[in-house]
């Protein structure tokens, strides 16, 4: 027997409310590809990725047809590349080119894992690797990079934070013809997770199996729609509505993840419960917050509303999936969310409010365009603040800011597609260079000692 209401509800979610599987991401270990030199390693990497993920796109497309639910992105994440180029770090860009070529051949839009994990200290080979990031991002189209600079267990590597300020700036400079798009593909993490399917921060952790399938679900529009039917519900009831909706969304993700893993002959990794917005109208996390009663996202009350949303999404999602992981929560990128863009345009949301919001939700300062003349040390300081929030609160935080070359407050930047558009937002002009210049390690917080 079937229930007509349930069937029509699902179809309505897909057709009108943008319910989709945001990404099916295959994680692939590259550890077996290490060879005696960069050229041989690049060749092995190319062969491994193209062979492993050969059927990723056709399998995802047939699943999409059979279940009638769009699968928006097909992606690959790999072992942090700094680990496989440790013997020849200065030639890491050769691996970058091989990965980009593999991504093009597979027909996937992004491949993540040009990454380094330096949360406790930067080895010499890692410092050399980090220096290759701007060039690697400028010379590739689909490659994404991430660097983990801190963790709750180890503290914050402030030498790496200082370096990343410079690397973010240089990435923007080298891609200035496209408004610094290199920075849209570079994430600086604290407490990075090893099974995140979402870009630009996806990489395949060394603790993972040889190859896995991780799935990221989405559906801000579905949550928004469900809440709009109960405009007078109190917040307990609103949380319940979100929870129930998140459950349904995640179950769709779980089904696709299991089936994709089966057909691809690899393990099912995790379902990431995130609410990921797109610049399309009706697919906005900001609009959910406004539906809850905020006049405009960014006003006082936003942090509380977001905390509730984020928690309810997790509660519903955890019940729906046998394996939950990744970043799981609500994403609040600025340029990728129409509600955020509109609020930023009106000057109603600031970097400071966004920072506060990152204390209670998934990830961090994401896709924020800032003036091109922002000093390196200020970018490092933004990264340090965000890493501190992650470290102290035992959560993942990240910074993906774009210092848009030759643009300043009042200008706009257009990245197009899923990366969207945004006004340049102001940053504080006070000088943090002495603080950043000190370097060293911010020790791990006292509550990290749990043994």
């Amino acid at each position: 027997m079937f229930n007509s209401y349930d069937i029509l509800e699902t179809i309505g979610m897909i057709e009108r409310e943008h319910l989709d599987i945001r990404t099916v991401t295959m994680g692939i270990s590259l550890l077996s590809c290490i060879r005696e030199n960069a050229d041989a390693t690049a060749k092995a990497v190319y062969e491994r990725v193209t062979k492993c993920a050969e059927r990723l796109v056709p399998v995802a497309e047939s699943l999409s047809r059979e279940y009638g639910i769009p699968i928006v992105n097909k992606r690959v994440s790999v072992t942090p590349v700094s680990l496989i180029t440790a013997s020849f770090p200065k030639e890491s860009a050769k691996i970058a080119l091989a990965l980009d070529r593999a991504a093009r051949g597979l027909g996937i839009d992004f491949l993540g894992g040009y990454s380094a994990l330096v949360h406790k200290g930067t080895a010499e080979y890692e410092a050399d690797f980090l220096e290759t990031i701007p060039e690697a991002l400028a010379s590739t189209e689909r490659l994404c990079s991430s660097v983990n600079v801190g963790s709750s267990k180890s503290g914050i590597n402030m030498d790496a934070v200082r370096m990343m300020g410079r690397i973010v700036k240089k990435s923007a400079e080298l891609t200035r013809a496209q408004d610094g798009i290199g920075c849209a593909k570079l994430v600086v993490f604290c407490n990075a997770v090893e099974d995140n399917p979402f870009m630009a921060g996806a990489f395949h952790g060394v603790g993972e199996a040889d190859a896995v399938v991780n799935v990221g679900v989405s559906g801000p529009g579905v949550v928004h729609h469900a809440l709009s039917h109960q405009p007078d519900a109190d917040l307990t009831d609103a949380a319940e509505i979100i929870k129930r909706t998140a459950f349904k969304i995640t179950r769709a993700g779980q089904l696709i993840a299991k089936e994709a893993a089966k057909r691809l002959g690899v393990r099912f990794g995790i379902v990431d419960l995130s609410l990921a917005p797109t610049p399309a109208r009706g697919d906005s996390v900001a609009h959910i917050l406004e539906e809850l009663g905020l006049g405009v996202v960014g006003c006082h009350g936003t942090t509380a509303a977001l905390a509730m949303l984020n928690d309810a999404v997790k509660k519903g999602g955890v019940m729906a999936s046998s394996r939950v992981g990744g970043l799981s929560g609500a994403f609040i990128p600025v340029s990728e969310d129409i509600g955020m863009i509109e609020s930023a345009e009106r000057g109603k949301i600031t970097l400071d409010k966004l920072e506060a919001m990152t204390c209670v939700c998934s990830v961090g300062l994401d896709m924020i365009a800032i003036p091109g003349d922002t000093p390196e040390s200020t970018i490092s300081a933004i990264i340090a603040d965000e890493a501190a929030i992650g470290m102290v609160n035992n959560k993942t935080t990240a910074v993906r800011v774009i210092p848009v070359p030759h643009k300043t407050v009042g200008d706009w930047v257009e990245f197009g597609g899923l990366l969207g558009r945004a006004p340049i937002m102001p940053v504080h002009d006070g000088d943090a260079s002495k603080f950043i210049g000190r370097g060293g390690l911010i020790p791990a917080p006292i509550h990290s000692f749990k043994n």
């Binding site: 079937f2 229930n3 069937i7 029509l8 699902t10 047809r65 179950r251 769709a252 089904l255």
Partner: protein, 89 residues
């Protein structure tokens, strides 16, 4: 395998007939059917069993969409598991 066929659009004569004939030609058996008309709007849901249908699902889904265009309705077929997953614990 079980699938769900949904047909919606402006009501007119012969919708069920056309869809049923198509399914029968494809050796797909209709196990349950429900239909409602709200104003001018027609909505029909069929639960079908397709183990005798040898055709590739993606191709079948495209043919059903084409049938929909021909009769001026939206016609879709989906694996039943998606509904079970989302609505049953």
């Amino acid at each position: 395998m079980k699938a769900v066929v949904t047909v919606s659009g402006t009501d007119r004569r012969g919708i069920i007939a056309k869809v049923s004939v198509f399914l029968s030609e494809k050796k797909i058996n209709i196990e349950d059917i429900s239909q409602t008309i709200m104003g001018d709007c027609f909505a029909m849901i069929m639960m079908v069993e397709m183990s005798d249908c040898g055709e590739d699902f993606a191709l079948l889904a495209e043919e059903m969409e084409a049938l929909g265009r021909e009769i001026g309705m939206s016609v879709r077929i989906q694996h039943a598991d998606i509904f079970d997953a989302m609505h049953k614990i």
